[in-house]
């Protein structure tokens, strides 16, 4: 099975636009949206949920007032400054709590309870391009790395179940926990980058991350004509680093128009979509581990 993960370092460079096009073009695949923090792929793919599952995670700390001795041990032990003394006694701030459970373990009165929380839902869905695994966290809920790992495991299971050999993932921006979870076990990362100072800076960081985890990287330079010189420099950089350059896309209003029409760019005739088709063909010829 091959796993392709679309990433970018910097946000807003066109990950989801490229993912939607590849989701349209790929055969025998499961589509997976790993950008659980701000998922957008469903806007284009309009998935119909066949199964809905609760994502239960994290630990909500509840200090039972009737049992609390008021010793303050929990507050002094908490490395995240999540517990403080208020008018109603000691209480935990769920936005600061990291769920380590040290307070519950070491409370002399056993007054601290850890409860699991329903943080969101994840779905097995059908789309016009094939099966899709995706999730929606409730506003402000966290633990996205864990959810990314869960979605990947579910996508693999679904692929095995249906005898599909490709998993196509829309990743998240940055280089932190959700991105690292996305790259784990990936056959190939597709980096969508833009020729701007920010795009270059963040691309180099995510390229280093791919190297760190030994995931081969293929690069698409998006909005290449906004700064042709920088695009050339990035292409050179790819070559120097040994990354594959899949090609360049122009800055074109058709991208926003396709989004407004809820279409993948490859679903109608336009210059950006046609280039994406060429890139997808080129990608098939890469020798990636499975």
């Amino acid at each position: 099975m091959r796993e392709i993960v679309v990433i970018s370092g910097k946000g807003g460079t066109g990950k989801t636009t490229v993912s939607a096009a590849f989701a349209h073009l790929a055969e025998n695949k499961v589509i997976c949206d790993l950008d659980v923090d701000a998922p957008d792929l469903h806007i284009l793919l309009d998935p119909q949920a066949r199964e809905t599952h609760a994502f239960v995670s994290g630990h909500k700390v509840v200090i039972r007032r009737e049992a609390c001795l008021g010793c303050g041990k929990c507050a002094s032990l908490c490395a995240f400054d999540a517990i403080s003394l208020g008018d109603d006694g000691y209480a935990a701030d769920p936005l600061r709590c990291e769920g380590c459970g040290v307070c519950a373990h070491l409370c002399p009165a056993h007054a601290v309870e850890l409860t699991e929380e329903h943080c969101g839902d994840w779905y097995r869905s059908d789309t016009r391009f094939g099966p899709m695994v995706h999730a929606l966290l409730f506003p402000g809920q966290e633990n996205s790395g864990k959810l990314v790992s869960l979605l990947k495991a579910e996508a693999r299971a679904l692929a095995r179940e249906r005898g599909l050999d490709t998993i196509l993932c829309d990743g998240s921006p940055g280089v932190g926990c959700p991105v690292i979870a996305s790259l784990s076990g990936a056959s190939l990362a597709v980096g969508v980058v833009e020729p701007t100072p920010s795009g270059r800076h963040d691309f180099l960081r995510v390229a280093d991350l791919c190297r760190h985890f030994r995931v081969p990287l293929a690069v698409i330079i998006n909005k290449a004509d906004l700064n042709a010189r920088e695009a050339d420099a990035m292409a050179e950089e790819c070559e120097k680093r040994g990354d594959v350059l899949l090609g360049r896309l122009p800055f074109d209003p058709v991208v926003t128009q396709a989004m407004v029409a809820r279409k993948a760019l490859t679903e109608f005739d336009n210059v950006v979509g046609n280039r994406l088709k060429d890139m997808w063909s080129a990608l098939q010829k890469l020798n990636v581990r499975r």
Binding site: G12, D37, G176, L226, P253
Partner: protein, 300 residues
């Protein structure tokens, strides 16, 4: 006034807005980049860095001689950073969140304080020395961003205490741990709203996620008037009106603006009209912050 410039979606214009606002700011200022996984503010406001600190997380090391193999450290660790193989305790420091539970339960003092590098914090000045600058940058391969951000925000508090100023804080994108860690420190949250279907969707997620923080939220609509997206613009305005999120500025979609950004230059320097947009946004933001502060005083 600490203004956190945030967005649900990456690429909505956080850094662009922060950099140009900093350039037209007319009061003492610290420009802060907390988008530590992908920091970009320094590319638009080149800093004179005067100090660079490495940030560390306190993680356990083991003195095997002292270990009694009681496994209490493994039992308390919620992050699977401590395992026991055939009675031998093995540590995985990369998984550690630094909760300190293992140290608290070890009866023999076998755990020694070690450290894991989280990234760096850089301090300096920008804009010809007229504003101070603070930036966080995670180490490649480090999965945890919030511990670095907490250290950065403590440093910012020290800087503001030493010499009072406003802070314009470029936030991490999204709505999970890194973004919330920064947003809860805000006096005012300014959300960059890209009115495309993706941008609007993620903006609403961010607005819903930040509401419980109880901080005043305003918006700046970026790339308004893009060809074929009139409905998106209108939907964004309507949402803000209904949710009582004041729109402090609308920045128009222009290819020249995209090129200015791509060249690493400030939008405020593109033309007098663009400069004026940011001056107006600055004044609106200061008035919004002052108005909300006055309201809070009245309520108290």
């Amino acid at each position: 006034m600490r203004v956190v410039i945030a967005s649900g979606k990456g690429g909505a214009g956080k850094t662009c807005v922060t950099a140009s606002l900093a350039a037209v700011w007319n009061r003492p200022l610290v420009a802060v980049d907390t988008d530590a996984e992908a920091p970009n503010l320094h590319l638009f406001l080149p800093p004179d860095v005067t100090e660079k600190k490495t940030a560390f997380l306190d993680v356990p090391n083991m003195d095997p001689e002292k270990c009694s193999r009681c496994e209490k450290c493994r039992d308390i660790c919620a992050y699977k950073a401590i395992a026991s193989f055939a009675g031998k305790i093995t540590l995985f420091p990369d998984m550690c969140h630094g909760c300190g539970g293992c140290f608290a339960v070890c009866p023999t003092g076998a755990l020694i304080h070690g450290r894991r590098e989280l990234g760096s914090l850089e301090i300096g000045t920008v804009l010809g020395g007229s504003a101070r600058f603070l930036m966080g940058r995670t180490r490649i391969g480090e999965s945890m961003t919030p511990p670095l951000l907490r250290q950065q925000l403590r440093l910012l508090s020290d800087m503001l205490e030493a010499c009072p100023a406003d802070a314009l804080i470029d936030s991490p994108p999204g709505v999970s741990c890194p973004a919330v860690t920064v947003a809860r420190e805000a006096d005012v949250i300014l959300l960059a709203l890209d009115p495309t279907p993706f941008g609007f969707h993620d903006f609403r997620l961010a607005h819903q996620a930040f509401l419980p923080l109880g901080r005043p939220v305003a918006a700046v609509i970026n790339r308004a008037g893009a060809d074929g997206n009139a409905e998106g613009d209108e939907a964004a305005r309507r949402y803000c009106r209904e949710q009582r999120v004041p729109v402090l500025a609308e920045l128009p979609f222009e290819r020249a603006a995209a090129e200015q950004y791509a060249a690493g230059r400030l939008l405020a320097e593109l033309s007098p009209a663009w400069r004026q947009r940011f001056e107006r946004l600055r004044d609106a933001l200061i008035a919004f912050g002052a108005g909300r502060a006055a309201e809070e005083t009245n309520h108290a």
